[in-house]
């Protein structure tokens, strides 16, 4: 019984060691805890599949190196799904690095699905001007952007770019963000009734629930969990990696809950011993 009481005073070094070990196990070995894909990730998945033929997807890459740990995996999963379904899309973003980093992701994935820049997707890069610029873009897309950010050529040279005259040619907007930029896109959504989904870092998720509740958002990816759910849905090429990382997260969370239970068991036994002793 004595060691049970010790459960409430486990030395912190053992706790840290067990965390490091438990988190690295799923990275080496195949661990399968039950994995559940939430409704918000399915909402985005259906919205991409149901995109009408004549419409284009708009990817707002409002993230940078700081939130790479979550945003990059989300962007990668979404781009792969758009390539898989052969849905045309345009990349732009409020963050200097976002469009650039996503362009690298798109080029890598394009080889696998035989997609070409200019036919299946194009990139107008970093945009400044906030909401006023988005509103102008909604009225006249071609006039708002003189050239694309990859080949530095006028939009008219790219077949996929010619398809977007104004907001009515955009069938779905997805904002991948590590900050509060979704506010501008929600304004666009309520003004022009274009379906909108947000892929955000885990910390921002609570702020988005009101918009899911009011149906202003048709889907959401929350942090690394969202990326892992989406990779599982589209059977993407990174589903194993994102799943491994989610297993590490689950193992660590379970470690915390188990430690809390053990501590309270030790406390309970010790208190009962003191009362009866």
């Amino acid at each position: 019984m004595e060691w049970l009481i010790q459960l409430r005073q486990i030395k912190r070094q053992w706790i840290y060691l067990s965390l490091a070990v438990l988190v690295s196990i799923p990275l080496f070995f195949k661990i399968r805890l039950p994995f559940f894909v939430g409704p918000q990730a399915k909402g985005l998945y259906e919205a991409v599949k149901d995109l009408p033929e004549d419409k284009v997807v708009l990817l707002a890459m409002d993230w940078g190196a700081a939130t790479k740990g979550e945003s990059m995996w989300q962007a990668q999963a979404i781009i792969e799904h758009l390539f898989k379904e052969k849905k045309p899309f345009v990349i732009l973003g409020y963050d200097i690095q976002g469009p650039q980093l996503s362009e690298e992701l798109a080029e890598k994935l394009a080889k696998k699905y035989g997609r070409n820049y200019g036919e299946d997707w194009f990139n107008v890069g970093f945009i400044t001007g906030g909401l006023p610029l988005l509103l102008r873009m909604a009225k006249n897309f071609q006039a708002t952007f003189k050239q694309d950010s990859v080949k530095r050529k006028p939009l008219s040279t790219f077949p996929v770019a010619r398809r977007i005259k104004d907001i009515n040619d955009i069938g779905l907007i997805i904002d991948i963000t590590g900050s509060g930029t979704y506010g501008d896109w929600i304004t666009i959504q309520t003004t022009y009734k274009v379906p909108l989904a947000v892929a955000c870092t885990a910390v921002i998720t609570p702020d988005l629930y009101p918009f899911l509740d009011s149906k202003q958002l048709i889907g959401m990816l929350s942090g690394l969990k969202g990326a892992a759910e989406y990779e599982a849905l589209i059977k993407g090429s990174h589903r194993k990696t994102t799943l491994k990382m989610m297993m590490s997260q689950s193992m660590a969370h379970l470690l915390i809950i188990i430690l809390i239970v053990l501590a309270n068991i030790g406390l309970y036994i010790e208190r009962r011993r003191r009362r009866s002793g």
């Binding site: 840290y16 965390l19 805890l33 885990a202 009101p210 892992a228 689950s250 969370h253 809390i260 406390l267």
Partner: protein, 264 residues
């Protein structure tokens, strides 16, 4: 005002600058000589009081199309504050250097670590300046090793230790000892479970729609975050808003005892 027009001619510029330096020196010397300690104290308190009006008046005075007579001064004052703050940086640096130089001079235990600190500081400053202004390729390599190889990873590594500390803090704090700890523990465990697929799997057998669906772990967790936590944060925020204003008023009217620069 003509006097504040930029002066292009270098010699005239130096004259103006030297004149201002000498003028300020004289004014300060005269004040030092002829003002008693009490008068200086009252002057300092008066200055604190006057300075308090700048930003508050600029905020409260009605603004025609976004500007009142103080608004044009907001940016220059902001820049001036930044520059004056920058001049305080060397003073801070000296205070740290004195501590570490003391370690080295007195050969206190572990004095060589203070030496590393100075070496690292000089290496980073030199390589950064040479890389930025002189574009030396050697400086660029050293700078890259120091910045991308050490400085950024040290910050990221230090932040990642939070993963370990959050586990040991939860282990220590979430004990069934009093009502506070029980409530905090309950909410934390629910929200934690609501975030991991394993947790969501536990209640995935409940229906998606309808009243019962609100018992699904992710919905309960979301309810805790968006209703309970948000309202608590908002209420605490109201208190902080009022507390912040009270603290500002106490400083503005020099009521805080330990901080009366003008003395009692």
């Amino acid at each position: 005002m003509r006097i504040f027009h930029p002066v292009k001619d270098p010699t005239l510029l130096t004259v103006y600058i030297v004149a201002s330096l000498v003028g300020s020196f004289l004014v300060l010397a005269l004040m030092h000589k002829f003002l008693s300690m009490r008068a200086k104290g009252r002057f300092i308190t008066a200055l604190t009081f006057l300075a308090g009006f700048f930003y508050s008046l600029e905020f409260f005075l009605p603004a025609k199309n976004g500007k009142n007579f103080l608004t044009p001064w907001v940016e220059p004052v902001g820049d001036a504050l930044a520059v004056i703050g920058a001049f305080a940086f060397p003073l801070g640096l000296i205070s740290l250097a004195v501590v570490h130089w003391g370690n080295i001079r007195r050969r206190r235990e572990g004095w060589y670590f203070s030496l590393f600190l100075f070496i690292a500081m000089l290496a980073m400053a030199l390589s950064a300046f040479l890389n930025h202004y002189a574009h030396l390729s050697l400086a660029k390599k050293i700078y890259s090793c120091l910045f991308d190889g050490l400085y950024i990873p040290l910050g990221v590594a230090m932040m990642s230790t939070l993963a370990f500390y959050i586990v040991s803090a939860a282990y220590r704090a979430f004990r069934v000892t009093n009502v506070d700890a029980i409530l905090m523990m309950g909410a934390a465990i629910i929200v934690m479970l609501g975030q991991i697929p394993f947790g969501m799997w536990l209640t995935s057998w409940l229906p998606m729609q309808g009243i019962v669906s609100s018992l699904r772990i992710e919905n309960v967790s979301n309810w805790f975050m968006t209703i309970v936590n948000m309202s608590v944060q908002r209420a605490i925020g109201f208190g902080l808003a009022v507390g912040g204003i009270a603290m500002a008023l106490r400083v503005w009217f020099s009521l805080e005892r330990g901080m009366q620069m003008g003395g009692k």
